[in-house]
């Protein structure tokens, strides 16, 4: 349970916020209300963020990561949703309903996507500020991959210090490249394996150990 929470804390946090917002806005029971989406941008925004979060949790959406891909996904879903609302006559928001189909829907969807991405970016910024200074280097790869890269870079940093880090990174670039492409989660076994591989690498590079 704790492992699940640790792994998906961001999703859970967003889901909680989205649910709370939805609950507050609905002021009643949760309902599937596309008419409401076409009428009230706040409801549509909640639905859009929820849809993107859900898609990213599926096996097809798990590779969608980083600010550009997520923004594109959000825009596509927003536009499709907006066009669908207008096609089925449910887009009644006065600002966009006057435009001919499908332009009103596209505009509505794009506007929602822009608002959603801005909101999520602000939210992420705030979340980072609240995470007690444990944020590490973010290369915008998958979360697991980024964690492994962080780990390798942390090993180098601890071993050689800032002055020699550039050379050390060059030396282990093949290992970084290998793990950058993997979808592996940093399990205990993988962590132990990485520790051992880097110890071997630094001994081979001439680092003298200590006699015990």
């Amino acid at each position: 349970m704790m492992q699940f929470v640790r792994k998906h804390w961001r999703f859970l946090l967003i889901a909680t916020v989205v649910l709370a917002m939805g609950r507050a806005m609905a002021q009643d029971e949760f309902v599937f209300d596309p008419v409401g989406w076409g009428e009230n941008p706040a409801l549509a925004l909640t639905a859009l963020i929820g849809a993107v979060a859900m898609i990213r949790q599926t096996k097809w959406g798990s590779s969608i990561d980083g600010p550009v891909r997520v923004a594109i996904l959000t825009a596509v879903i927003g536009m499709l949703g907006g066009v669908a609302l207008q096609m089925f006559g449910m887009l009644t928001h006065p600002t966009v309903a006057a435009y001919p189909s499908p332009w009103g829907g596209l505009l509505y969807g794009l506007g929602l996507a822009f608002t959603a991405m801005t909101g999520v970016a602000v939210f992420n910024y705030g979340a980072k500020k609240l995470s007690s200074g444990e944020q590490t280097l973010d290369i915008h790869t998958g979360q697991a991959t980024s964690q492994i890269l962080d780990f390798i870079l942390a090993q180098l940093r601890a071993l050689v210090g800032p002055a020699k880090l550039p050379a050390a990174i060059t030396a282990v670039a093949p290992i970084i490249a290998e793990f950058a492409q993997s979808k592996a989660v940093l399990t205990d076994d993988l962590r132990a394996n990485l520790q051992a591989r880097l110890l071997s690498a630094v001994r081979a590079a001439g680092l003298m150990g200590q006699d015990l």
Partner: protein, 132 residues
């Protein structure tokens, strides 16, 4: 492929600019108080003030021999050259009894308050070094 290129570009950026390297490396690691040190015939892991979760100690050297294992830990030596020690959750300093030549070692762990992985390489024990 694109990810690899990003990583290699990052490596290129870091290797080409020392000030950038310093800024980046400051972001990567922060000491959180735990240490791994060489002591007489052993390696001592001190978790600091908080519990260290899932501690793994790895060592490499010549003619490694395990003398003692902390309670609850699982330590194995492979081929006389590699030590893999899973200490589990550590609340107070523990020592792995070990002999060998040219030993290099590191330890990694998490904290119960976050998912970050921390890492230190072994250094000579400060108290023992001062005593010599």
């Amino acid at each position: 492929m694109r990810v690899t290129l990003r990583v290699l570009l990052l490596a290129l950026l870091v290797t080409s600019c020392a000030p950038v390297a310093e800024v980046v490396t400051d972001l990567i690691t922060r000491s959180d108080g735990a240490t791994l040190s060489y002591v007489h015939q052993g390696l001592k892991f001190d978790p600091g003030e908080q519990v260290a979760v899932g501690v793994i100690v790895r060592a490499e050297g010549e003619n490694l021999a395990l003398l003692s294992t902390p309670d609850g830990a699982t330590c194995t030596i492979v081929g006389g050259t590699q030590l893999d020690c899973r200490l589990g959750d550590v609340t107070e300093p523990v020592t792995i009894g070990l002999t060998g030549k040219g030993v290099v070692a590191n330890a990694s762990w998490r904290r119960s308050t976050g998912s970050s992985v921390y890492l230190v390489f072994a250094v000579p024990d400060q108290l023992e070094a001062e005593g010599e």
